[in-house]
């Protein structure tokens, strides 16, 4: 896997790649995030778990500039990114795989992937990344010419992740990659996520599927109604009786 962006400057390995401090976001007058702080170190896989409506998607969308930030700071590689446009953030190396996948159904699988490379449009980089993707998800390789809307849900998720990889991100944000997907494919997808991380991509993973998320991550945050209720190493959270009762079905 060659995933790190070819032209992006290297970042200090010990510094947090992403640092969110006291983030508040409102919809109309209603507060969805009431002061969320988290950080993701370079090379880490960090999970954010929480029930439906806790504010997970809101957190990711405000990081990538799709939602206006009411208060707080977000820094990426040491620089503030609050108020930056999503297009510029993709160029800077942040890529979001959105909830529900949002692939382009009438475009072919290959066209979807090509669009992922829109930020750099570099032929050689595209070719190399495509090779990596076919290794990562052989099922996609067999379906390049097919309309993306004809893929199964799990395959669409593979495509959505791959499309983000085409941009060669440094930081990959994943919004519920297991949502509505057959268990067997969920497993394949999480194996791939581990491989992507092993290739040097930093990952912030949002999940309602607590068991899978805690197993796949180094650290995790528990989000509850717009606030961080708990955080720590994933193995510790998985052993926490309170977490087990609330999110792991006892």
């Amino acid at each position: 896997m060659r995933v790190a962006h070819p032209v992006r400057p290297p970042v200090d390995a010990n510094a947090a790649l992403l640092e969110v401090t006291d983030l508040r976001v409102n919809y109309g007058g209603i507060a969805a995030l009431k002061g969320v702080s988290l950080h993701v170190g370079k090379g880490e896989i960090v999970a954010m778990i929480g029930a439906n409506g806790a504010g997970k998607t809101t957190t990711l969308k405000s990081i990538v500039g799709l939602l206006p930030v009411a208060h707080g700071s977000i820094t990426y590689a040491g620089k503030s990114i609050v108020g930056m446009a999503v297009e510029d953030l993709v160029e800077a190396g942040i890529s979001l795989v959105p909830e529900g996948r949002a692939i382009f159904p009438t475009l072919t699988v290959l066209e979807n992937l090509e669009l992922g490379a829109y930020v750099h449009r570099d032929k050689k980089t595209m070719r190399e990344t495509l090779e990596d993707i076919v290794q990562l998800f052989p099922r996609l390789g067999e379906r390049m010419k097919q309309e993306a809307g004809t893929l199964s849900g799990g395959e669409q998720q593979m495509l959505a992740i791959s499309r983000s990889l085409m941009a060669r991100p440094s930081l990959l944000l994943l919004d519920e990659p297991s949502l509505g997907i057959a268990p067997k494919l969920v497993q394949q997808i999480f194996v791939a996520i581990a491989q992507i991380a092993a290739a040097g991509v930093t990952i912030l993973l949002v999940e309602q599927n607590t068991r899978v998320a805690l197993r796949a991550s180094h650290r995790a945050y528990v989000l509850r109604t717009g606030e961080i209720a708990k955080s720590g190493p994933s193995v510790e959270l998985a052993a926490d009786p309170e977490i087990q009762a609330a999110y792991l079905g006892g």
Binding site: V64, L66, E87, A102, F104, T106, G116, G153
Partner: protein
């Protein structure tokens, strides 16, 4: 023989309608609005074409005049299309984003721009019908060939270029397109430029055939083109081509019968029947989410 003749004429006519229909459909794709001013861009192109043809010497250099008139009209109308989007639609879009009016206000704005341009044309060029010089003996085959060539060109742009891919992505899902780094404003502007220049080609072809330019000329062709776009499935590019060709052919076929006055009515009857059977148009799709 009469049937073949009518078919040829219908294809030429339809190809031209398709060129205009493409502008409606592409703008609908990226903005989900009907650009009612598109028919007035068509009209303005007819005037620009006329003036350039006259300036080049008209019948003295027919080929140069036709090509020059078309190219200049394409360029001028691209600018006009971009300007309309920039000064009328974009500010309205920014202000109504997310509100209940986000669907209606842009439509009313488009109607207003349409009326404005018609009146501007009357002011600048008077309401007089201005004849085009007869540059060619037989324009029908030329129209057909040029219209098909433009559609092939468009297909290449849409399928092969980064702009084309960005435009299709934006048409399907704006947020997802932005997550790919697609610059929406630039892509929208280029869509207007492309749609307007196709309409400009259509306008010059139309006038070479029907030979007059006047301020309200956009209405008839605009309506036919709009119907063609809806018939084929609004937002769907091959749909607009198919819809245009169908309407052109239907029109000429009806003229062969004793009901030649009923062409416009029949076109709408066909539209309604198609929409009853396929609400999204002939090639349009209403997709179901997969899990």
């Amino acid at each position: 023989m009469k049937l073949i003749d009518a078919l040829m004429t219908g294809l030429a006519q339809g190809g031209m309608i398709a060129l205009v229909a493409l502008g409606y459909t592409m703008v609908f794709g990226v903005l989900k609005m009907i650009n009612f001013a598109h028919s007035e861009v068509f009209m303005m192109a007819a005037y620009v074409g006329l003036f350039v043809i006259a300036a080049v010497g008209g019948t003295a250099h027919p080929l140069l005049a036709a090509v020059g008139g078309t190219v200049v009209a394409m360029f001028a109308c691209s600018l006009l299309g971009i300007t309309i989007e920039r000064i009328a639609y974009r500010p309205i879009r920014a202000r109504t984003r997310g509100s209940k009016l986000a669907r209606v206000t842009p439509l009313v704005t488009a109607l207003a721009v349409s009326v404005l341009l018609q009146n501007l044309a009357q002011l600048l060029f008077t309401a007089r019908y201005r004849p085009y010089p007869q540059l060619f003996q037989n324009t029908r085959p030329i129209i057909f060939v040029v219209a098909i060539a433009m559609m092939v060109f468009l297909e290449l742009v849409v399928k092969k270029t980064w702009f084309g891919k960005a435009m299709r992505a934006l048409s399907t899902n704006e947020e997802a397109a932005r997550l790919m780094g697609v610059r929406t404003s630039r892509t929208i502007a280029m869509t207007f430029a492309l749609g307007s220049s196709l309409a400009a080609v259509g306008a010059v072809l139309y006038c070479l055939d029907q030979s007059q330019a006047y301020p309200t000329m956009g209405f008839k062709i605009g309506t036919q083109a709009f119907v063609a776009a809806v018939l084929g499935g609004i937002g769907n590019i091959p749909g607009a081509m198919l819809g245009g060709l169908l309407i052109g052919i239907i029109g000429e076929m009806v003229k062969l019968t004793s009901y030649s006055g009923g062409v416009d009515v029949l076109v709408f009857v066909v539209l309604i029947l198609v929409l009853l059977a396929r609400p999204a148009g002939l090639l349009g799709t209403t997709r179901v989410e997969k899990v």
